[in-house]
Symmetry: C2
Subunit: 190 residues, 2 copies
DNA sequence: GTCTATAGCCTGATAGAC
DNA sequence: GTCTATCAGGCTATAGAC
């Protein structure tokens, strides 16, 4: 029973943390606020996570994991065109589905640093993505294009300016922009 | 003489703040660090700026002002193509010239919030830019394109991944990507 | 008008009782 | 697994020296 309660508290904690992070930012969210919202004390929070950074990492972890899997899957294609298509589609899908998290992730240095220090390291992921999009021996133009594509899609997708746009429309438009940037042929739009 | 000293301290303070912010992030820079680096006490810093947020605003202010002027200048053109060209060129120029500040600006919520609450308000500026790029009565596709362009250029320009690229090359590539995204005709590349 | 000294309150973090 | 107690360090504020 205690194990069940603990598991539940941990889960509730992460959910509440994400909610508060989204509302006040990581920096603007104190452990006290999390503890109060959960009806426990700060020290109780510290039982589950040694540091605040550990909480931010845990909040971001699912997204990073999915991204990691996506890169592996995309890299399995033999033709580079297929790699690019797979990565672009999957990346947009990830961004759209985790809009809230993305908005946080891209605007909060706390989360940024947390992820950077995470298992695989975000720099590694980013480098891999640029490599997939621009090719292994890309020139500056190609790398700039890849960077603009990735960060542009991520920032725009997480932007509050597009919060009112439904998932399907946003997904379609982001993929469209990405394909245009990366020089992929246009798809027919259902 | 005291007036001169004060002006000098204020200027030195802002310069030192920018330097420390760039190195440790806004969050990671304490008033104590700024004070120590200047050889004064925390209270002296507090004399010039009531809050830490006021410092971040003051650090960002020149960039915001330049952006504001750019928007006014770009809006003066009669043809929308000229408006887009002017805004894109100027925006890229701004990003490239203030690379350090941009990297900070786009990755630190402290700065973000400071600017959002700033005089003209960043949201207003962003809305104006989207309006200029996508047109006054733009559909979702146009607004997504504009957002991806702006945020992509800003993020990529400030990214450490391109810190090694010289200004002129970066400027050229960013404008190139922007023109491609916004459907502007290609320019001859000297 | 410019700065120092000092103190308040809050945060992240630790130690140890229950 | 959760609590109380406590600490160092951060931002903010005031009083007062010069």
């Amino acid at each position: 029973m205690t194990a069940v309660r603990a598991e539940d508290t941990r889960t509730r904690l992460l959910g509440m943390a994400l909610q508060l992070f989204a509302e006040h930012g990581v920096e603007g969210t104190s452990l006290q606020m999390i503890a109060d919202a959960l009806g426990v004390t700060k020290a109780a929070v510290y039982y589950h996570f040694k540091t605040k950074a550990e909480i931010t990492e845990a909040v971001a972890e699912p997204g990073v994991r999915e991204l990691d899997l996506l890169l592996v899957a995309a890299a399995r294609h033999r033709r580079r065109g297929a790699q690019v298509d797979h990565l672009l589609d999957g990346f947009v899908e990830l961004i759209v589905q985790h809009r809230v998290l993305v908005a946080l992730f891209s605007s909060d240095p706390g989360l940024n640093r947390a992820i950077a220090k995470s298992a695989h390291g975000m720099d590694g992921l980013k480098e891999t993505m640029i490599g997939l999009l621009a090719g292994p021996d890309a020139d500056v133009a190609g790398r700039v294009t890849a960077l603009v594509t990735l960060s542009g899609i991520a920032m725009a997708g997480g932007s509050p300016d597009l919060a009112g746009v439904d998932d399907e429309t946003l997904r379609r438009e982001l993929v469209d922009v990405g394909r245009r940037l990366l020089g992929r042929p246009r798809r027919s739009r259902g």
